[in-house]
Symmetry: C2
Subunit: 411 residues, 2 copies
């Protein structure tokens, strides 16, 4: 994989130019993308600058995020060739830091759950996950050092886990979603994919303009970590539990204190409310597409929006009250724990291209708005990841604990 921190070190040392760094990505795309099919289009003549702390960093932009120089097609024939007028706020921010929006990356239609044409970079018979399939696969395949995704259920953490890269889904609204196609305004959260935890931490600190998020300034000390089995969801597969156990032991070796943490019932109740909030909002957000292009909606999204018709405003308001209560309970839990450790996905990437896998271990945390980090767990076979979660606003802490576990796993 291309490490953002490593590329930047080489650029700052003078052993690599920004142009040269962008060329590394262009060459890797030429070599890998014919099989992985992570990109939808690339900027053929990107404007590379020498200035800025992300100069030389090629970024993949999920194709529900507006770009003024490349079409934004939402993974749907309904938007074939659609050219937005403006860059999304996050794209402008990346450019202002010197980065290059090199490619649009594949997305499930409107960031829903239908699969894309992208394959898993570790085995093309397996899904890369979704909906941020292209961004996860492009980083996992070593094509790009940084990519943007969005998570409404589990669309950042799960594909990162499947594709063997690090990712952060920051606190809700830390990164601006202006110019990002909405699925659910209460849930949609921009996230970052990178080779390792230090890469996404460095990128997030710069993009958010909050240096304290970067690892240097948030040493975790001896963190108290709650080990969570989300038993309101069906059990994870043995591979996921094994990865979680390895992460637990690595954390302990690194000096963390681990304790089993049973989530109070309010959190299970909130987990069950996720779809109500998501689908009630999606039906409004995609009302034009549904009314005018129902037949062109993808195989899973169409019926999902059909079914959402039965969700009443009262259902939605009740779901939001459950979520509100759960956020308060979770906030209190974090007075006893610095971080939560749980699985990122039910198991490794399923052997299918007809599904993007299951977000059941991600939904709760998206609804809670708390920062989540995927840490790749090295091993035989397909990639596996575990998830580190901190309190709302504790993005730096989540990343610091994740980096500590990542280092201990590699030791």
């Amino acid at each position: 994989m291309l490490s953002l921190v490593d590329l930047r070190r080489r650029i700052e040392a003078g052993s690599l130019t920004p142009d040269g760094a962008i060329r590394l990505s262009q060459e890797a795309i030429l070599a890998r993308d014919p099989v992985v099919r992570a990109t939808i289009c690339t900027d053929p003549a990107p404007a590379v600058t020498d200035h800025g702390p992300l100069a030389g960093i090629a970024v993949g932009v999920k194709d529900i995020i507006d770009t003024a120089a490349m079409p934004t097609q939402m993974g749907s024939a309904i938007y074939a060739g659609w050219q937005p007028k403006a860059d999304a706020a996050i794209v402008m921010r990346l450019k202002s830091l010197g980065a290059v929006a090199l490619a649009k990356t594949s997305t499930s239609p409107f960031a829903s759950i239908d699969p894309t044409g992208t394959t898993n970079p570790f085995d093309p018979g397996h899904t890369p996950g979704g909906s941020s399939a292209g961004s996860a696969a492009a980083v996992g395949a070593g094509m790009l050092p940084l990519a943007l995704g969005t998570q409404t259920g589990g669309s950042v953490i799960r594909p990162a886990s499947f594709c063997g890269c690090a990712a952060v889904k920051p606190s809700f609204r830390l990164l601006p979603t202006v110019g990002v196609k909405t699925f659910s305004w209460a849930l949609d959260t921009l996230g970052l994919f990178g080779a390792g935890v230090c890469d996404v931490a460095h990128a997030l600190a710069l993009i958010a303009g909050r240096p304290a998020i970067d690892l240097g300034s948030t040493a975790p000390g001896a963190p108290r970590i709650g080990l969570v089995i989300q038993d309101f969801a069906a059990a994870p597969e043995p591979e996921a539990l094994a990865a979680l156990d390895r992460a637990r032991r690595a954390a302990e070796r690194a000096g963390a204190s681990l304790a089993d943490l049973d989530l109070p019932p309010e959190l299970g109740a909130a987990w069950r409310c996720h779809a109500t909030i998501q689908d009630f909002e999606a039906r409004q957000a995609l009302a034009w597409e549904y009314a005018n292009h129902r037949d062109a909606l993808s195989a899973l999204l169409g019926p999902q929006l059909d079914d959402a018709r039965s969700i009443t405003p009262a259902d939605y308001d009740e779901a939001r009250r459950h979520a509100h209560r759960a956020r308060r309970v979770l906030k209190d839990l974090f007075s006893d724990f610095d971080a939560i450790l749980t699985v990122s996905a039910p198991g490794p990437a399923p052997k299918t291209l007809a599904s993007t896998g299951d977000a059941r271990f991600n939904r709760l945390w998206t609804l809670m708005g708390v920062p989540c980090v995927n840490v790749p767990v090295p091993g035989d076979g397909l990639p596996m990841g575990i998830q580190v979660i901190a309190r709302f606003g504790g993005d730096g802490r989540a990343l610091a604990v994740a980096a500590m576990i990542e280092a201990a796993l590699r030791a």
Copy 2:
């Protein structure tokens, strides 16, 4: 003015057809808009349906709200002729209820504070207010029975007050902002303009799909009302204080109990934070326009975004903490009061077309996310309004108290 409730009664009684009701608006636009200049464009051949509870209702759509059948030009030359692909969620919702999006209405550039070409329907030498200038003026001039605006500071309640119509700025996120150009995602709130409080209450209940918001179901009884002078802002003009006093006495005649309410200092602190949150977000939301078209930005917006460069993420985070604290304090206040009564604007519409007036009595409530209703106060001279505010989610209560005061003022 054209009353939505009255038009619907006539349509249901068979004395008016939906086509005929739309024609009333078309004729009024032909008669009044050459002077008022509230509309940017109209649909020359609107598709009128006989079905739905808003059939026959012509709606004005502020020109920062996407429409698939008419351009959306944001009040800015930068978006001259821009044709979005899809209707905004709120436009789709109105259509699904049978309403007709008849006209795009003028907006300050990107819903900021620069004036539009619209004049006050009661005196063309006076401002109609802003940023939802066209929507307020079109309803106040009797051209349309319903119009959509947005409020980030005071862009719904203030122009309604200046143009003599009723308006509701609902609880934050009650109405979906998908497809509405963002200025500040923490603040931007869709609102409705109508001839009277019962008109906007009926429309809001239908659009939000929450029948309890409508007046029939939320009789206010003998409400406890807190009379608020926002003394952190400069004093209102004598006309505004006189209107407030008339509203207070009308409320008392109608059976309400009124008490002076001094706002705790947390609310003044939050009021002072509004611009920090708004402008920090606006600089990101309009980053593409700023970077590529700085010279085409309007006279007040350009420098506003220049100055926003100095707002740090730490400033912003601190401002959000103040707002969070103030929301809790305000929530507690509403255990003693059903509603707050305060001025809608510093005074009547200023005699100028070079300013849209001052939002200083609206900002706090937008930041708090609570529902606000403008009640026109009948009198000599230019229109005046007062503002009724309820707790978050208490949209029905705010409207019921507002309707009670409106009726008592007219009696």
